[in-house]
């Protein structure tokens, strides 16, 4: 068992290195690649969850980018992340807008086991944590004020801690919602809570405990994104972490207050990815590259000219078959602003990033960050060597496909070389990242060392 794992690791490491070499060599030598063939599979069905970060799919469809690739795509909203993942695994869907953690968790066999890869990262940021009016009232007194009387940002969970303690003293469980056990939202909410010294609970899958409530001060449970506001309004949860427009919806409905965006928790954090099965990518290589091309173009369109196209995008997203929320609600976060407490509108130009900062490139280091959080909270029960983290990342994140798509877009003169200039020689690891709410630095090349830096969470060698 152990030796096979080791062998597997070695094999993967080789793949990674080979992959890195290929991606490094791309873009430097254009006009070499053979012309991209017609798609093997032309009729595709993609799934999504009603969130603004599905925008690249909607835009690629509405702007005809899919059709330009000879792809005839049907886009279908899904009930929840589980249904969506099962759809991709059982072939009902050809691909989908996924939580970054989903392909990773599926590949390591946490939850449903399946080999899912991602050639395209869909966006950066875009989530926020919202609490109910009642909780906000109690939190607000603990938050320092600016000169104009508005709360100082970012709001840390330190302000929530006394409230949680009060509830626990009264014997009331403090419930919060997130969208999926391996969702960005789960890890962000946990990160934010833990940074404020509130324990969000451990998982222990080897003992059959996947509820994630061991030692928890705040009990996190799964609610599909669009139902978050209604669930909070019903009093089942006191707050939640979710993507847009479901935080702005709470403001508009007057049922809650967003306290912190994920941009403030971790500046320019990777969010959704576009997931397909490995089998699909192998069976339909041209289709895979072509759909990646269409998505890259859509992402570029979304960020073009300093978000100039965003109002049009919002209009498309507000159609009932996409996100379907009111134009104003979606526009609130998509057009560079974010409304916290009613009337407290602040400029957050990078709240939704679709193309800037290499947002679409699937970085290995992003995948590794999710793995570190899975390990931190016990979803990965055992210690794993750094090489394992890298190997898994290389298995799931496929910059080689991304670069092939980018290269052919440049070759076809659809996009220019300068659009990808930062990616020349990219090795898949971002430089150590500093902008976390707790100021802990993340270096993707040293996952175990990173895990050991947290006050709350499992550390190397620990097992529940």
């Amino acid at each position: 068992m152990k030796t096979t794992l080791k062998n597997e690791c070695k094999k993967l490491c080789r793949t990674v290195i080979a992959g890195l070499c290929i991606s490094g060599s791309l873009l430097t030598s254009s006009l070499q690649a053979a012309e991209l063939g017609y798609p093997e599979k032309e009729e595709l069905k993609f799934g999504f969850i009603k969130l603004t970060d599905m925008a690249p799919i909607a835009i690629a469809y509405e702007k005809g980018f899919f059709e330009d690739e000879g792809l005839y795509v049907t886009i279908e909203s899904q009930a929840n992340w589980k249904v969506l993942l099962d759809g991709v695994i059982d072939g009902r869907l050809d691909g989908a807008h996924m939580l970054a953690g989903q392909p990773i968790a599926a590949t390591i066999g946490y939850g449903t086991k399946a080999e899912i890869i991602t050639p395209f990262s869909m966006d950066l940021n875009g989530n926020a944590i919202t609490v109910s009016n009642e909780i906000w009232k109690q939190m607000k007194v603990n938050i320092p004020k600016q000169a104009d009387g508005r709360p100082v940002h970012p709001i840390k969970a330190d302000a929530l801690k006394p409230v949680v303690e009060k509830y626990l003293d009264e014997g009331k469980p403090f419930n919060m919602g997130m969208v999926f056990p391996v969702s960005t939202h789960n890890y962000e909410l946990r990160y934010w809570l833990a940074a404020g010294d509130i324990h969000p609970g451990f998982y222990a899958p080897h003992k059959g405990d996947t509820s994630g409530k061991i030692d928890a001060q705040v009990l996190l449970s799964v609610t599909p994104p669009p139902q978050m506001p209604a669930t909070m309004e019903a009093g089942t949860i006191y707050g939640y972490c979710v993507g847009e427009p479901w935080n702005q919806q709470a403001v508009f409905k007057g049922i809650g207050v967003p306290v912190v965006t994920d941009y403030e928790i971790w500046k320019n954090n990777p969010e959704k990815v576009f997931g397909i099965t490995k089998a699909f990518a192998e069976k339909y290589p041209n289709t895979t590259i072509r759909l990646t091309r269409a998505l890259i173009r859509a992402a570029k369109w979304l960020d073009d000219n300093n978000n100039a196209n965003r109002p049009e995008a919002v209009k498309i997203l507000s159609q009932s078959n996409y996100v379907g929320a009111d134009y104003d609600v979606i526009a609130n976060s998509m057009t560079g602003t974010f409304e916290y407490e009613k009337g407290d509108v602040r400029s957050v130009p990078d709240f939704n990033v679709f193309f800037r900062y290499n947002a679409t490139y699937p970085y290995y280091s992003d995948a590794i960050w999710y793995l570190t959080q899975m390990r931190r909270w016990g979803q990965i029960s055992d210690d794993m060597p750094d090489s394992w983290y890298k190997a898994i990342a290389a298995k799931v994140y496929r910059p080689d496909i991304y670069m092939a798509a980018a290269q052919s877009l440049v070759d076809d003169k659809i996009l220019s070389k300068s659009d990808f200039s930062d990616l020349v020689g990219e090795d898949g690891f971002r430089a150590p990242q500093k902008h976390f709410i707790d100021n802990i630095v993340y270096d993707g090349t040293e996952p175990n060392a990173y895990i050991n830096k947290f006050k709350i969470g499992l550390k190397a060698g620990e097992k529940l």
């Binding site: 139902q227 009932s320 929320a325």
Partner: protein, 332 residues
């Protein structure tokens, strides 16, 4: 005889012409004006209460909001059809370009990939409910007849029916979904998996009332007719075809009307739960969208669902009137 009638008619006609007109009018009043009055009162009550209920999605939709949405939804449908037309033109051009480049290419016309409009969803739900219902009928009627004819079979199967009958088909839905995705594998499926799943769910819930009513109809068949068949020494298949089946038609129809009503209700719920295309998905999507129009759109869908359910029942009733010999059982 004829003389008596004509005399009667002659004698009474001049006197009661007015009376007859009056009674005709009063019948019309009862059949037409009373329901109208009922609807009017309902509308009034609805719009009055609607304006006083505030939800986080705005005011509860009144009749006016619903009327507006009906227009909107039809407009959206037309707009989508226009988009579809453009889509086909574009596709045609693309196919031509590719043919020019690659003469071996067999051009293929793909159906429009855009969104399903409200009217599309209505059609999808209708097709699903009718297909599922027909599948159920094909299974349930022969099964019901077999159970009704054979005491042995009845004793053997009855416990199974009694156990499965009270199970909400929605409880089956996850199992059906998994089984369909496991077994219904084909590279180019004729029907979508979601359609098959909804269809099976509808079939499952339509099955039991039809089986039970059919077997009841067979069991409670007039013994004299059975004796007639015995005296004629009718072979089994002729007996079933000429005696049993027609004799149980009224009971079969009772079961079918019951089933169709349940099936329609269950289908909407199943579509909501499994996100299969149809009116249920429309309602759920709108609920999830949470836009300012969502409630009035949901209300429109609710009324549409009710209206279609009513029309389905009336259609079955008409069918029963045409097909069944027992006109007295074909009442509302």
């Amino acid at each position: 005889m004829t003389a008596v009638i004509s005399k009667k008619a002659l004698g009474i006609a001049p006197m009661s012409n007015n009376k007859m007109i009056m009674s005709f009018i009063s019948e019309k009043v009862q059949a037409l004006i009373l329901p109208m009055a009922g609807i009017f009162c309902f509308m009034l009550l609805w719009s009055l209460t609607a304006s006083s209920i505030d939800t986080s999605l705005g005011k509860f939709p009144g009749p006016h909001a619903v009327a507006t949405q009906v227009v909107n939804l039809i407009d959206e449908h037309n707009a989508e059809r226009d988009k579809a037309d453009v889509f086909y033109i574009r596709q045609d051009e693309r196919n031509k370009v590719r043919m020019a480049k690659d003469p071996s290419y067999q051009p293929k016309v793909r159906i429009y990939t855009g969104k399903e409009t409200f009217l599309d969803q209505i059609l999808t739900s209708l097709v699903t409910v009718i297909s599922g219902f027909l599948v159920a009928a094909v299974i349930a009627i022969p099964l019901g007849i077999a159970i009704g004819l054979s005491k042995t079979l009845n004793t053997a199967i009855n416990p199974i029916i009694q156990i499965f009958k009270p199970v909400s088909p929605l409880a089956w839905l996850p199992i059906v979904t998994m089984v369909v995705s496991a077994l219904y594998v084909s590279p180019d499926p004729m029907f979508a998996k979601s359609f098959i799943t909804s269809l099976i769910t509808v079939t499952l819930c339509s099955l039991w009332p039809m089986v039970i009513n059919t077997s009841f109809g067979v069991v409670s068949m007039n013994q004299d007719w059975v004796n007639v068949s015995k005296v004629l020494s009718l072979p089994k298949h002729v007996h079933i075809q000429k005696i049993v089946l027609p004799a149980s038609i009224p009971a079969i129809f009772t079961g079918m009307r019951m089933s169709l009503g349940i099936a329609w209700m269950v289908l909407i719920a199943a579509e909501m739960l499994s996100q299969s295309p149809g009116l249920g998905k429309f309602v759920w999507d709108e609920f999830q969208n949470g836009s300012s129009q969502s409630l009035s759109r949901i209300m429109t869908a609710v009324l549409t669902i009710g209206l279609i359910g009513y029309l389905l029942d009336r259609t079955m009733l008409q069918l029963q009137r045409i097909l069944s010999w027992d006109k007295s059982s074909a009442q509302l």
